[in-house]
Amino acid sequence: MKVLMFGWEFPPLSSGGLGTACYGLTKSLSKKGVEITFVLPYSGDIDADFLKIIPAGNVKIRKISTFLQPYMSSQEYKKSLGKKPQPKIYGSTLFEEVARYTLAAEKIAEEEDFDIIHCHDWMTFGAGIKAKKKKNKPLVLHVHATEHDRTGGHAVNQHVYDIERHGMHKADKVIAVSNFTKTKIMDHYGLPPEKIRVVHNAVDFSQHYYNEDFGIKKTDRIVLFLGRITLQKGPDYFVHAAKKVLGHEKNVKFVIAGSGDMEPFIIEKAAELGIADKVLFAGFLNQDDVERAYKMADIYVMPSVSEPFGITALEAMKYKTPSIVSKQSGVSEVVRHCLKVDFWDVDEMSSKIIALLRYKPLHETLKEDGYFEVKRFSWDTPAEKCIQVYNELISKG
């Protein structure tokens, strides 16, 4: 079976769960004999050498010149254009880039031989539709996040929403990464439930072992936030919870790893709450440092306002770091050995952080059971479910 896959990030150069998910899924699919051509926007930061070393078996990487970042808003895109040397081929707005990506993808579709098209998130939806028109092959859209998640339902970008909605209705099947996301698609995009298949993400269990002494751990325990500092990820709830915890516990530091448009606001907020010395900003971390951060942390908190899946929670558990996850997330549907809170319930969030700091057996049990639970996740499961979707669509003709 040959799949033409449209994506836009691939590790190690990825800024979120999407790249991790595409990597895990394609690796497992290729192991099961699926041949994949993976269309990736070319970024100035990626050189061809790197792409060759990706050990993804049958996955063939095709690139389009752009440095689209999957979670960038149009404004952020403009900003990043200003920072980097600008080759002439780049368009001036994010949407122009999407249009260019779509056009290039059409050409690739013409050249490639495939049985099915599989797209990851809205920026590739146009490309998928074009490819479908060209070769009349079934189209699968994989929804890792919707505009509703990214904006928390406020100030939804109409253009992005339209692309998402149009794509979902044109697709032969939509894959949602959780029931949480399936419900969002039904409620906000008007798709009938039978057109949606839920395929939960997994986690790649290979890990690096860092036997490192972290200086900070000699005096402090670490509570970690790791993700984009945007409204969707709930960093403001994290800071308010920090304030509350610090009123009851000493020797705790709160580390915020990531970057995003809310960063200045969060820094000011921490100062305003009088906890600026207790909240540390680590900035955007590369993959190695992400893993070290999980390892260093005593508690991982994912306070997302709306999280379609939330692979970071699984990754934290993989590094034996007990996790507190928002109930408004896909991962809370499939994980048992973590603590769950409503993102808005700062009292409960801080209460649970304190409980984990104080009650050693709770920390120990979650550490061990969480690790054991995550060990049983494998990308083979979602890969098999995708193959099932492919087969159903192909046999329908």
Binding site: H248, R336, H337, L339, K340, D347, E348, S351, K352, I354, A355, R358, Y359, K360, P361, L362, E364, T365, L366, D369, F372, E373
Partner: protein, 368 residues
């Protein structure tokens, strides 16, 4: 003819209110009064009252040949007195027939034997007093919480004057032997041992309504036939889950001695204590509550003592069990908490609050 003993366990725990870490030191109420009231009223009307009517009817129809034993915890009786006193009346009516026996156990449904034999003894006596006051009945048979049993418990209970004790008919204890005889605890002549026939008990308790079971549906003739099969290899079938009985005549002759060197319970495939004490959260919580005994006793404060014992109720630790959680069977048992972790957090927050209270009250008395 084989005798069938039915045994009815009546228990409802004092459920805890979600107690936030920020409440520690405020000494707020620990118990979820509203939920406890709602649940006791519901089970009273859906279960206890109709079941009692059926039992009374059977006793009348069989001219008193049908006999039942009840084990009612002190804390369920307290709750019934407060919220559904008609159930107490209905039990009194049953006891009056003379065909009903009441067993003793720990008043607060605890695992205290394992942690404080002194308090265990007091709890059993407390229960005994409650049953005598309430039903004018003096229990002679003892069943420990969750059927936790070993040789030492049998000896302890024998010394307290009981004539019989119940235990699980666990395969690893019985070996080739049948659970359907009356036995003697190892080395004891003053007390008899009755064993639960867990297969036949579980047929009713767990498999009766399970459609995937090959024997489904279980009809009365089919079940009677299974019991009849025991003829020749047993004298008594003890059905312990919901109904069970101990007519005095059924256990006059003990056939052999049985050795229970290790603790055995009626829970799960393991039939051990792992459902209550299997993980570190459970071990920590239970050892911390018993560590407070000196303070509680020093305070000589009856309210504090009662609260302390209500925190010992075994259900609190059962809710912290992560065993089923691993197997994905979380929905197969009833748990008022979303997860065992929530159960532990609530319990520990309360225990920390209680410790502050106990320290204070315990100290004051020492000074006096």
């Amino acid at each position: 003819m084989v005798s069938v003993c039915f045994y009815f366990q009546v228990h409802q725990p004092p459920r805890l209110r979600k107690y936030s870490v920020f409440e520690i030191g405020h000494h707020n109420n620990y118990f979820d009064e509203r939920k406890n009231e709602a649940i006791i009223k519901k089970v009273a009307h859906k279960s206890y009252l109709p079941a009692n009517r059926v039992v009374l009817d059977l006793i009348n129809k069989t001219d008193g040949k049908f006999r039942v034993a009840y084990s009612m915890t002190g804390i369920v009786l307290e709750q019934l007195e407060r919220f559904a006193p008609e159930v107490i009346d209905s039990f009194r009516e049953l006891v009056k027939t003379g065909c009903v026996e009441i067993l003793d156990e720990t008043y607060h449904h605890t695992l205290s034997y394992l942690y404080s034999k002194e308090d265990f003894r007091e709890q059993v006596l407390l229960h005994n007093r409650k049953i005598r006051q309430m039903f004018s009945f003096k229990p002679k048979v003892f069943r420990n919480t969750e059927l936790v049993y070993n040789n030492d418990i049998a000896e302890f209970i024998g010394k307290m004057g009981y004539k019989g004790i119940l235990a699980e008919g666990a395969d690893h204890i019985l070996g080739w032997r049948s659970p359907n005889f009356v036995y003697r605890p190892k080395g004891l002549n003053n007390i008899k041992l009755l064993l639960k026939n867990y297969r036949l008990s579980d047929d009713i308790a767990f498999r009766f309504s399970e459609k995937s079971w090959e024997e489904f549906p279980l009809t009365a003739p089919k079940y009677a036939q299974w019991i009849n099969k025991i003829n020749g290899n047993g004298n008594v079938v003890n059905l312990f889950m919901d109904y069970e009985t101990f007519g005095e005549h059924q256990w006059e002759d003990a056939v052999a001695e049985l050795d229970f060197p290790h603790y055995v319970s009626w829970a799960d495939i393991e039939r051990d204590l792992s459902a209550w004490l299997g993980n570190r959260m459970q071990q920590e919580a239970i050892s911390q509550v018993y560590n407070l005994e000196p303070h509680v006793k020093l305070s000589k404060n009856p309210a504090l003592l009662d609260e302390w014992r209500k925190l010992q109720t075994s259900d609190h630790f059962y809710y912290m069990c992560t065993k089923w959680f691993n197997d994905g069977d979380v929905h197969k048992y009833f748990n008022p908490y979303d997860s065992p972790y929530e159960a532990f957090i609530t319990y520990m927050n309360i225990l920390n609050d209680f410790r502050m209270k106990a320290n204070k009250l315990g100290e004051v008395k020492v000074v006096e």
